[in-house]
């Protein structure tokens, strides 16, 4: 750690607070992730990626930077990674999932904004995130009002660029988005001084496509009745995808996939057959936010699918590779990203259809709609999603919460009671036995 302290100091971090943050992440990791039984061996890489996120990975980025490359920070899966990579720019997701940094944001920002924004900004304001001072530019977007206004404040601290994500899905919205994608290309070209060409964009598009494909294949295994991987571990893999080098990440996802395939062949699972299958749908859960997954999986349930930005929405759909020229490839990229059904769109019926489809494919016994407090988009859309699920006969529970631990017991009561309702028709104390 001593070597890294020099780096952190150089980045202007408050070492004491940063240490406290690392301790809080370690203790969350120990109690929620490491405590799981029968974890796949291949998870070791992803565990380590979280552990070294603030040291080795930061040093790695500094080394890359010293060779003249640029690093950008992103906050949304709408920012096209392949374009940044093609310009020789490394994208790193900066979303905060820790309660620890929230008070630092509340000293400047209103309390009534979502914990993800507060946590992220607090990491910067409290001088506790090594990434914010490492990046050459931050790229925001317009997926909610809280973020839009936050960028204006963040922009006074670091170079800020904002992409406009349209709010509808019509023709002019698609055109607007295509223009935004092209402007983003120009912006990263300007930042790195390197032109995006058809060839290098194709190469980088394939790198990102392979990453999404590997994640998709891994998650397919969660459709099986005997689950070879827990929901918490699958989430951890998705979380690491946001900060890791894409090619190295893909390689390790493939290693994990092969291990899980062997598990499937040998009938090895991490939960008992018949464990209640839960799909989590709604807001993103970024490191170290394992709160809801942990409650579900320590109350006798298993998370089998994440219809979130740290799950399906991130790895679904690839960019069509066939493109005769750069313009056509940029169109393909713009098209792929506009298929992400964020609740910032109106109307957003595609998401309702997607939730139903996933719930059926993953044979979810119930869907938990996970809403970060003050995330109005997903919170209000939950009404439509709930209606559709009910019509399809799929039970659902909406949980609105933030990153703090103070509502742990009431949340656990709700989740346990929800699991009880899923099990109640097939005998009484099944869930309870699992708990004890």
């Amino acid at each position: 750690m001593k070597d890294y302290e020099d780096i952190w100091q150089k980045l202007g971090l408050d070492l004491h607070r940063h240490n406290e943050l690392l301790n809080s992440i370690t203790s969350a990791y120990n109690s929620m992730i490491d405590s799981q039984k029968n974890r796949p061996r291949g998870m070791a890489y992803f565990d380590r990626s979280v552990a070294v996120a603030h040291c080795q990975r930061v040093r790695e980025l500094m080394t890359i930077k010293s060779k003249g490359k640029k690093v950008i920070g992103t906050f949304c899966i709408y920012v096209p990674e392949e374009i940044a990579l093609a310009a020789g720019v490394i994208p790193i997701a900066l979303c905060g999932g820790t309660q620890f940094s929230v008070p630092y944001a509340e000293s400047l920002f209103p309390r009534d904004i979502c914990p993800l924004i507060k946590s992220t900004l607090g990491l910067g304001l409290g001088k506790i995130c090594p990434y914010l001072p490492t990046i050459d530019m931050a790229v925001g977007e317009t997926t909610c009002d809280g973020k839009k206004k936050a960028w204006e404040i963040l922009g006074t601290m670091i170079p800020m660029y904002v992409m406009e994500v349209p709010q509808k899905k019509g023709k002019i919205d698609r055109e607007l988005w295509l223009q935004e994608v092209k402007l983003f290309k120009e912006k990263v070209e300007e930042l790195s001084g390197r032109k995006v060409t058809l060839n290098n964009l194709k190469r980088c598009m394939r790198i990102v496509n392979r990453k999404r494909q590997a994640l998709g294949r891994l998650n397919e295994l969660r459709k099986l009745p005997l689950l070879p991987i827990s929901g918490k571990d699958a989430l951890l893999v998705a979380q690491v995808s946001l900060i890791d080098d894409p090619e190295r990440f893909t390689k390790h996802v493939e290693v994990l996939f092969r291990e899980l395939e062997r598990r499937v062949k040998r009938d090895i699972g991490v939960f008992k057959r018949g464990t209640k299958r839960i799909m989590v749908s709604g807001c993103p859960t970024v490191v170290p936010n394992w709160k809801i997954h942990n409650i579900v999986e320590t109350s006798g349930g298993a998370v089998v699918c994440d219809e979130t930005c740290t799950g399906f929405r991130y790895y679904a759909n690839k960019v069509e590779e066939d493109a005769p020229n750069l313009n056509a490839l940029l169109e393909n990229i713009a098209y792929r990203y506009l298929q992400i059904n964020c609740s910032c769109f109106t109307p957003n019926e595609e998401r309702v259809v997607e939730v139903l489809k996933l719930a059926k494919e993953y044979k979810a016994d119930g869907v938990i709609q996970y809403i970060l407090q003050y995330c109005h988009g997903y919170n209000i859309e939950a009404i439509k999603v709930e209606r559709a699920l009910k019509e399809a006969g799929i039970p659902t529970l909406k949980l609105e919460t933030d990153y703090s631990e103070e509502d742990f017991e009431p949340l656990r009561t709700r989740v346990e009671a929800f699991l009880e309702t899923l099990g109640s028709r097939e005998g009484d104390d099944r869930t309870i036995k699992v708990i004890r």
Binding site: E400, E406, D407, E409, P410, R412, T413, R414, E416, A417, E420, T421, S424, R425, D428, D429, I432, K433, I435, R436
Partner: protein, 246 residues
Amino acid sequence: MRVAGIDVGSRTIKLVLLKDGALSDFMILDTGHEPLARFKEVLGKCVAEKAVATGYGRHLVKSHFDGAIMTEIKAHSLGAHHLYPKCRMIVDVGGQDSKVIRIDGEGHVENFEMNDRCAAGTGRFLEIMADTLGFSIEDFGNQALKATKAIKISSTCTVFSESEVVSLIAKGENRQNIALGIHRAIASRLSTMVNRVGVQKDIVFSGGVAKNKCIVSLLERELGIKLYVPKEPQIVGAFGAALSAI
């Protein structure tokens, strides 16, 4: 066979003993500041072959006794269904949370709502408001029923209401009228929750707050139906837990 149900609530611990399926004894004690010690005390008093614990403190006690645990939501459903087989909904307002549970004809939970993380509109809220107005909690509802008019209380947030009540007292408003306003605020909050789950005809009202006659009558008026209030509304959860042990 003797079985026990223990409901470790935030304010009180309830013990119910059943002998051959019928209620033989029950006990209600303050939880105090050491719920585990209190639980062990209660456990020492129960002569039973099987016990099931429920309530807010169930996880705290689960490794300290030989029995299963279940959520209070399930326990209340079992208890209410047994007491009133026709019942399709339970409104349970305890020390620090309020719940509305919809059940089917066999007592299985179909849907439920719980208040969020704060104590707004719960037993604890009533205690604090009664205290601010200088009434005892037992007498609070009766005093509110004597009001000549209701003063509008705009919040069921414990903190905001307390300051609102303090300023009403300072304005010289009648205490009973303020009390009625507080009761109305809770009843309206509860009826919103009931409507969100989908109001049913046969509703059991349980938990300590069901002992408050003013809340019962206001809620009945809001919902336009009669509520079933068990003779001992506080022990419905413990009763349900005991039933599950049979």
